[in-house]
Symmetry: C2
Subunit: 298 residues, 2 copies
């Protein structure tokens, strides 16, 4: 914490004590519409891009220490705590940037990122949670899902691959799964990166214009884009049905990439602060070990 204070130069916008950006957390009885949130907003943060970038770097040290404490205190313990960050969003909403610039700043030894792509033939033979469960985070670690079980109530609803009754059954299964995770000591942080239709168009165009971005472009992205309103409907319904007391959704405005990153970083810091992991006490006699070690040093 001392470190992050030191590197922040402008107390009014970048101090870790400033109102912290969090995205829009949804109550468990939320009945709104994701379209009511402004994708260009920067709730809780009064700075601009440059300050936002500085803020992100200034908080790295705190996130890093909290993660190391979590690992030190909880890994290997049968009932240890962990964090699961679930990131959903339309194509180009910045999921990769979150992995790289937020998750990527913590020690990779304590983090497992899983990217859930279109399911394989084998995965399709099983219940939709079958491929998800093995990636629940181990005690002491941070698990990160780049897309998740929510694909099965989003793209599946939009394309009619599952009917309304089946989608409702999946909401129920997801809520039960997330209650299970919470009971096992996992703090579940769910984020929808909320990008606007206009901004997505600009970002896809950039992928077409730059040869070093062509590999990220898929003609199917435009097909999905043509279902934009259906997706916003599907997100709205899914978030209403699965924003629970134990695992609320956060709608994070994502038209400004720098803002989305500091908001998600803040959500991770909040989750870890709430766990408040402490350095574990030595389970050996320190003086005895110092003596043994000294004897090997002549």
């Amino acid at each position: 914490m001392a470190k992050s204070k030191k590197s922040s130069k402008n107390a009014s916008t970048t101090s870790p004590e400033a109102p912290a950006p969090r995205g829009f957390p949804l109550a468990n009885d939320w009945k709104g519409d994701v379209r009511d949130f402004d994708p260009r907003a920067t709730p809780g943060f009064s700075g601009k891009k440059a300050e936002g970038r500085e803020f992100l770097l200034a908080r790295d040290a705190e996130l890093d220490e909290l993660q190391e404490r979590l690992y030190a205190a909880h890994h290997g313990a049968a009932d240890g705590r962990s964090v699961l960050l679930i990131v959903q969003g339309m194509d180009t909403s910045g999921k990769g940037g979150i992995m790289r610039h937020v998750v990527g700043s913590v020690d990779p030894q304590g983090v497992e990122i899983t990217a859930f792509k279109a399911p394989t033939a084998e995965e399709k033979e099983h219940d939709f949670l079958w491929r998800i469960r093995p990636h629940a985070p181990a005690p002491g670690t941070i698990g990160v899902f780049d897309r998740s079980q929510y694909e099965d109530v989003l793209i599946h609803r939009v394309h009619g691959w599952a009917d309304a009754k089946e989608i409702r059954a999946r909401y129920t299964a997801i809520n039960a799964f997330e209650r299970e995770l919470a009971a096992a000591g996992t703090t579940v942080v769910k984020v929808m990166l909320h990008v606007s239709h206009e901004e997505q168009g600009e970002r896809l165009m950039e992928r077409l214009e730059r040869p070093d971005k062509h590999w990220k472009y898929n003609p199917g992205d435009v097909d999905e884009r043509e279902h934009w309103d259906d997706y916003m409907d599907a997100y709205t319904r899914a978030l209403r049905a699965t924003s629970t007391v134990g695992a609320p959704w956060h709608v994070v405005p994502a038209d400004r990439k720098w803002y989305a990153r500091i908001a998600v970083q803040q959500l991770l810091i909040d989750a870890l602060r709430e766990i408040d992991p402490q350095w574990p006490a030595a389970d050996f006699d320190i003086d005895e070990q110092v003596g043994r070690l000294r004897a090997t040093m002549e």
Copy 2:
């Protein structure tokens, strides 16, 4: 590349064009002894700690771009290229710092780190390579082993858990495995972090003195330390037997953590430069896609 140039201020020591640190690469007919290498040396680098740290950061951009190119060009391809970095070293030699400060600087989506601890009961029922094989890197990715198959010819020799004949059979199996990897398109980079007995003593003492480091201390570390000479013998024999044309060992002096990090970073950069991955050409008609996308933007 332009980026890394920009951030280096002192051309004589920190320019990416300066003689690059690499550790001591071993020839495939090497007959030496690891004790002949000075753990405090900084081969190929004339700067001190501050310059070394700056050099590490200055090269991040190049490593990052090479990794992204590797991923873009090779992931998903049946015969795609990949890199496997194997890191071995005595306790406190800085394996964790390599994971954090070198591997941790690249996009975590393209990297899989596997830490091989003492084998489980199930793993012990199988051949020693059984638990290793599934972690060979997928095309387009960088795999990193924090300890590896080499534990089975190091600690096993030191404690006599395998006899000399069995150890020789394992060298043969390891060489065959690594030839297989190379044939599949994987560049294997093997690093021994070479720390001195004296420096290890200091580092273990620090773990005993700082409450936030107690969790990293294990009384068994002193037991192993008492076998130091046996370990240096075991490393010498293993490196002689498994430094091959396709997968040579590098002895990286590790008493100065900052040096070991820039040396390993350089080895990764070298491996990727040799693969020389290129941004893949678009597999769609760009003008057609621009037209389709424009139509969705009004």
